[in-house]
C-alpha cells in the first residue's frame, strides 16, 4: 500500500518534466504552478497526454496563452468531459487566430460561462440532430409532404414546417426532443386538419384582426386540432400533453378552455366552426400558449397557397388529359378541341373512400362514374388539392387541351429556330429529331449537338471526397465484391474446381441407359458472367450549381473507384445546352477509356452550365451505348429536375420529348433509370421512366451512397 504515495510522487515528477520539456517558458508564468502540476498529475494518463499534446500545440502559437491554458485546464477537466474541453480549446485558438491574444486569454480565463453554455448545450435538442427523423415521421403521418427547415420561430406555410434550431426548455435532451416532435406534429395537424384550407383561411383573414381576435381563434383551433390528434393518434396526443404545460395551473386553464369549447372536439368540426365560435369566446380569458403551439402567419400561408394552387391545378389537368381515353382527346389539326374539353369536364368526378374525417381519407377519381386507377403520384396530388380546397371545383377536372396549355412558338421568339441559321460550330455536329407531342410528329433534324471534353478540375476535390467518405467507400467496395461472389458459381462446366453432383448423376444415368454422357461435370468459380455496360448521364444544367453538383461529383468519384472492382464497362457524359441549336454533351469518360487521373480530374471539373434539354441527350448517349457490345445496357441519369430549356422546351413538351426518347432507346434494348433530387419528381418521372425505373433521393448528402446502392440493385 505504501506504493500508492510513491507512485503519485513519480507521476508528479513525470508530469513536471514533460511540461517543462514542452512548455518550459510558459510553465514559469502559470500562477500557482506547483498546485496546477499536482492537479494535472492526479488526472488519468489519457487526460495528461491530451493536456501535454495541446500545451505543445498552443505553445507553437503563443507562450502566454499556454500559461493561461495550463492554469485553467485542471478546472476544465473537473467540470467537462474531454470532448468538451477540446471544444473549449479550439474555440480559444480560433479566437486567437481571428481576434488576437487578449480575447483568446479571456476565453481560457472565463471558464465558468463556457461550462454553463456547455450544460445548456447538453440538454438542448438540436434540430439538425432530429430533422431526418422528423421528416420521415411527418411524411409517414400522411398528407402533403412537408419539408422540415429551421427558423427563429415555429410555424408552417403549408409547404414547410419551420422549427427553431435548438430547443432547451425542458430538463433533458430527450424531453426537448419530444417537445420538438410535438411542435412538428402540431404544425402538421394544422395542415392536415384544415386550419389552412383555402376558404377557412380567407374568412379568417377577413374577419379577424391580428391583435385581438386572432389569439382567440388560435386557442380554439388548438382545441380542435388536439381533439383530432387524440382521436387518430392517441399515444402521440398523450406525449404532447405531457410536455405542453408549464405547471398545473396552466394545464387546468387549458382543460377549462377545452371543456368550454367541447363542440370543436367533434370529428366533423372544421376550422370554420372555430371561426364561428370566436365571437362567443372573445370575452373569455385565454389560456397561455402551450409549449409546442408555435406561431401562425396567415399572410405567409396565403402566399404559399396562391403559388401552389394554380401549379397543382395545372398538374391535375395535365394528368387528367393523359388519363382520358385516347380516342376522345385527339386534337384536331387546328387545335380547336375546346368543345370536347368542356364535355369531358363533366365526366371526371371525385369520390371519397372511407369514413369522413379519417386520418387518411382516400379519394377516388371517376370517369363516367367508373373508378379510374391512379398512380401514387396522382393520388398525392389529389390529396394535396383536397387538403387545400376541401372540395374539387369543376374546372379542376377539365383535362388540359392538347396544344392549348403550352403554345409552341415556331417563330423563334423563344430563341428556337430552324437550323439553317446556325453558326458553324467547331468539331463534329450531330443532328437529332425532337418529338412534338402536340403534333404527334418528329421535328426532323431539329437539334444540333456537339461533343466536347469537360475541362479538368481541381484534383484536390477527389482527394477530399475519398477522405470524407472513407467508410462509405469501403462498404460500397464490399457490396460490389459481394455481387461478384454471388454470380461466380457456374454449373456444368468442362473444367472446374468441384464436381457438379447433379450433372454427375445425370451422366451416370445416361451411361446406364446407354446414351452419350455429357462431359460438363464440374462447377467453376469465375469472375466472368457479368456483361453489363453502363452510361451515366449527368445533369450539368445551371440549376445543379452548389450542393447538387458537388454531390454528383462525389457520387461519381466513389462509384468509379468501386466499379473498378466489378469490371463493368462504363462511361460518363454530362449534358446541358441552350436552345435546340446548341445542345452540348460533355465527355467525362468514354467506354474505351480506363479509369485514370485524367478521368478523375474531369469528374472534378463537372460544373453547372445552362439548361436541361434532355431528349436529345438521351438519343445521343443511347446511340453511343447501343454501339457497345453487352448483354445488359443501362442508362442512368443523375438529375435535379425536369427537362427544361430556353423557349418552348418546358412543361409537357419537354417531358413528352424526353419520354419519347427514352422509349426509343428502350426499344433498342437499353434500360433507362433515373436518380433525381427533385422532390416534385413524383409528378412526372413515372410518366417518363415508368413506375419503377426511378428513385428520388431526398437528401443531397445521401446521393453517393444511394447511387452505389441503386447500381447494385439494378444489376443483380
Amino acid at each position: 500500500m505504501a506504493d500508492a504515495p510513491r507512485q503519485n510522487f513519480f507521476n508528479l515528477i513525470r508530469v513536471q518534466k514533460d511540461l517543462e520539456k514542452i512548455a518550459g517558458a510558459a510553465l514559469i508564468r502559470v500562477p500557482r504552478m506547483q498546485e496546477v502540476i499536482g492537479e494535472i498529475a492526479e488526472l488519468e494518463r489519457e487526460a495528461q497526454d491530451f493536456i501535454l499534446h495541446w500545451a505543445e500545440v498552443i505553445a507553437l502559437s503563443n507562450t502566454e496563452l499556454t500559461a493561461h491554458f495550463l492554469g485553467q485546464v485542471p478546472a476544465a477537466f473537473r467540470a467537462l468531459d474531454q470532448a468538451a474541453v477540446e471544444d473549449w480549446i479550439i474555440k480559444a485558438m480560433d479566437v486567437f487566430d481571428n481576434r488576437g491574444l487578449g480575447f483568446a486569454i479571456e476565453v481560457f480565463d472565463k471558464l465558468d460561462p463556457w461550462i454553463e453554455a456547455h450544460e445548456r448545450n447538453r440538454t438542448a435538442c438540436k434540430l439538425e440532430q432530429i430533422a431526418g427523423f422528423l421528416r420521415h415521421f411527418v411524411r409517414a403521418l400522411g398528407g402533403r409532404t412537408l419539408n422540415i427547415t429551421n427558423d427563429q420561430q415555429a410555424w408552417t406555410d403549408t409547404e414547410k414546417i419551420f422549427l427553431p434550431t435548438a430547443l432547451n426548455v425542458l430538463a433533458d435532451r430527450a424531453a426537448n426532443g419530444r417537445l420538438m416532435k410535438s411542435t412538428a406534429v402540431y404544425l402538421w395537424a394544422q395542415n392536415r386538419y384544415g386550419t389552412w384550407r383555402y376558404r377557412a383561411l380567407e374568412e379568417a383573414i377577413r374577419q379577424l384582426d391580428a391583435a385581438v381576435t386572432w389569439p382567440v381563434y388560435q386557442c380554439l383551433e388548438g382545441v380542435r386540432l388536439m381533439a383530432a390528434i387524440a382521436r387518430e393518434l392517441p399515444g402521440l396526443a398523450r406525449e404532447m400533453e405531457a410536455v405542453a404545460y408549464v405547471d398545473e395551473a396552466h394545464a387546468a386553464s387549458w382543460a377549462a378552455f377545452t371543456a368550454a369549447a367541447a363542440a370543436l372536439a367533434a370529428p366533423e368540426a372544421s376550422a370554420r366552426d372555430s371561426l364561428a365560435l370566436v365571437a362567443d369566446f372573445s370575452q373569455v380569458p385565454l389560456p397561455a400558449a402551450r409549449r409546442w403551439q408555435g406561431e401562425m402567419f396567415p399572410q405567409k400561408v396565403r402566399e404559399a397557397l396562391f403559388k401552389r394552387v394554380p401549379r397543382e391545378k395545372e398538374a391535375l389537368q395535365q394528368a387528367l388529359s393523359a388519363l382520358q381515353p385516347e380516342h376522345e382527346q385527339q386534337p384536331t389539326e387546328d387545335g380547336s378541341e375546346a368543345a370536347e374539353g368542356t364535355q369531358a369536364a363533366n365526366r371526371f368526378s371525385i369520390a371519397q373512400n372511407g369514413q369522413a374525417g379519417a386520418t387518411q381519407p382516400e379519394y377516388e377519381l371517376r370517369y363516367d362514374g367508373q373508378a379510374v386507377p391512379m398512380s401514387a403520384e396522382l393520388q398525392d396530388l389529389l390529396d394535396s388539392i383536397m387538403q387545400d380546397m376541401g372540395e374539387m371545383a369543376e374546372d379542376y377536372l377539365t383535362p388540359a387541351g392538347g396544344s392549348g396549355a403550352y403554345p409552341l412558338d415556331e417563330s423563334g421568339a423563344g430563341g428556337e429556330g430552324h437550323l439553317k441559321d446556325l453558326p458553324s460550330p467547331a468539331g463534329k455536329l450531330w443532328l437529332y429529331p425532337e418529338w412534338d407531342y402536340a403534333r404527334a410528329r418528329f421535328r426532323d433534324a431539329f437539334c444540333a449537338l456537339t461533343e466536347q471534353d469537360v475541362p479538368e478540375g481541381d484534383p484536390g476535390f477527389a482527394e477530399k471526397t475519398r477522405v470524407k467518405y472513407r467508410g462509405l467507400a469501403k462498404s460500397i467496395q464490399r457490396i460490389f465484391e459481394a455481387i461478384l461472389s454471388e454470380a461466380q458459381r457456374q454449373r456444368r462446366q468442362v473444367h472446374g474446381d468441384e464436381l457438379d453432383l447433379d450433372a454427375l448423376v445425370e451422366a451416370h444415368v445416361d451411361r446406364l441407359q446407354g446414351r452419350e454422357m455429357s462431359d460438363r461435370l464440374y462447377t467453376h468459380f469465375r469472375k466472368a458472367g457479368r456483361n453489363v455496360a453502363v452510361m451515366f448521364m449527368v445533369d450539368m444544367s445551371g440549376s445543379t450549381k452548389g450542393w447538387i453538383n458537388e454531390a454528383e461529383r462525389e457520387s461519381l468519384i466513389l462509384l468509379c473507384e468501386a466499379l473498378q472492382v466489378l469490371g463493368d464497362s462504363y462511361a460518363i457524359y454530362g449534358f446541358s445546352g441552350r436552345t435546340n441549336k446548341r445542345c452540348e454533351i460533355y465527355r467525362v469518360k468514354t467506354f474505351n477509356e480506363p479509369y485514370s487521373t485524367g478521368v478523375e480530374r474531369r469528374i472534378c471539373g463537372i460544373g453547372p452550365k445552362a439548361y436541361t434539354r434532355m431528349g436529345v441527350a438521351v438519343r445521343h448517349l443511347g446511340k453511343l451505348l447501343g454501339d457497345v457490345p453487352a448483354r445488359t445496357r443501362l442508362l442512368i441519369t443523375l438529375s435535379d429536375g425536369k427537362p427544361e430549356d430556353y423557349g418552348s422546351y418546358r412543361g409537357r413538351y419537354g417531358i413528352e420529348d424526353t419520354r419519347h426518347a427514352l422509349l426509343e432507346i428502350k426499344r433498342s434494348g437499353i434500360h433507362p433509370f433515373c436518380i433525381t433530387i427533385d422532390r416534385e419528381a413524383q409528378s412526372y418521372l413515372p410518366h417518363m421512366y415508368g413506375a419503377s425505373n426511378f428513385t428520388v433521393v431526398d437528401e443531397v448528402a445521401k446521393l453517393p451512397w444511394k447511387v452505389a446502392d441503386i447500381y447494385r440493385k439494378l444489376t443483380t
Binding site: 399515444g235 372511407g354 445425370e506 444415368v509 441407359q513
Partner: protein, 269 residues
C-alpha cells in the same frame, strides 16, 4: 425431385380464409374454366399465395407450390433420372406431377428462376397445352383440370429480373394491392384474433408506414406483417413492442427509419 424444390401436391380440405379485393375470384374461375394460365402481380404480403390456396380449395384441385430461386432450372420443374441401387429411375418434377394429376401448379416469384424455365412454361401456356419431357422422349398432353399460376412483384427494380413480354403475354394478369382500410381491418381481425379496435389501430399504423414508401422504405408494412403484429398482441405482447419487432425491424435496418416507425407505433396506440 419434389425434395429439390420443396414442392408437394396437396388437396386443401378446409376453406382458407380469404377476403376478395374485387372480382379476382370470378376472373380466376373464368380463366381456369377456359384453361388460361394466370399471372398474379403485387407487393409482398398482400395475399397472392393465400388467394391461390383459396382458389385451389374452391375448385377442388390439388395444389403444387414451387418457390422459385435463382438456381431453379427447367429440369427441377420437369423431372430427372435418379440412380437407385444401380438402376435408373425417372422422377417427375413438380410441374410434370401437376400436369399428370391435373393439379394447379403455382410458381411463386417466377422471375427468380433461371431463364431456361421459360422453355417449359411457354408450350404449357399457349394453345398447344403440352409439356415435352425430352429425357423420356415423351410429350404430356395437358388435361383441362391443370392450371399454371405464376406470381411476381413488379416493384423489384433489377433489370435482370424482369418478366419477358413473350412470357407475360401468355397469361391472364390479376393485380393485387394492399386492401383498403376497412377490409384490411377485417383481415387482421380474423387472422390474428385481435379486437376490432386493435385491428383498426394496426391498420392505421400500417397505412402510416406505407407513406414512407419511396422515401426511405422500399415497401411499407404488408398485410402479413400487420397480421403477425396482431398475433403477437393477441399473445400478450404490448402493442408498441409487437409493432417494433414484427414490423419495424422487418422493414428496415436504417436507424433513423427504425426510430420513425417506432415512434409511429407509439403514436397510434
Amino acid at each position: 425431385m419434389s425434395q429439390a424444390t420443396g414442392a408437394t401436391a396437396r388437396m386443401i380440405q378446409d376453406e382458407p380464409y380469404y377476403e376478395a379485393l374485387g372480382n379476382e375470384r370470378e376472373v380466376f374461375a373464368a380463366a381456369y374454366g377456359n384453361q388460361l394460365p394466370v399471372l398474379l402481380k403485387g407487393p409482398t404480403g398482400c395475399g397472392k399465395t393465400r388467394f391461390v390456396h383459396h382458389m385451389a380449395w374452391k375448385l377442388q384441385r390439388p395444389l403444387i407450390t414451387v418457390a422459385c430461386h435463382d438456381d431453379l432450372t427447367a429440369a427441377d420443374l420437369v423431372g430427372r433420372y435418379l440412380v437407385k441401387g444401380g438402376e435408373t429411375q425417372w422422377v417427375d418434377g413438380p410441374l410434370a406431377q401437376a400436369v399428370r394429376m391435373g393439379a394447379i401448379c403455382y410458381l411463386d416469384e417466377v422471375v427468380e428462376a433461371r431463364k431456361d424455365t421459360t422453355v417449359v412454361i411457354h408450350p404449357l401456356c399457349d394453345d398447344r397445352r403440352i409439356l415435352p419431357i425430352d429425357k423420356l422422349g415423351e410429350v404430356l398432353v395437358v388435361p383441362p383440370e391443370f392450371s399454371l399460376v405464376i406470381s411476381y412483384n413488379p416493384g423489384y427494380q433489377s433489370v435482370l429480373k424482369d418478366l419477358k413480354q413473350s412470357t407475360r403475354q401468355r397469361f391472364v394478369a390479376l393485380e393485387f394491392a394492399y386492401p383498403e382500410a376497412a377490409l384490411e381491418q377485417r383481415i387482421v381481425e380474423s387472422e390474428s384474433g385481435v379486437a376490432p379496435e386493435m385491428a383498426a389501430r394496426l391498420v392505421k399504423f400500417g397505412a402510416h408506414t406505407r407513406n414512407l414508401k419511396g422515401a426511405g422504405l422500399e415497401e411499407g408494412a404488408s398485410t402479413r406483417l400487420l397480421v403477425n403484429a396482431g398475433k403477437l398482441v393477441q399473445a400478450g405482447v404490448a402493442p408498441a413492442v409487437a409493432c417494433d419487432t414484427a414490423v419495424a425491424h422487418a422493414l428496415t435496418d436504417d436507424p433513423e427509419l427504425l426510430q420513425t416507425i417506432h415512434e409511429l407505433a407509439s403514436a397510434v396506440f
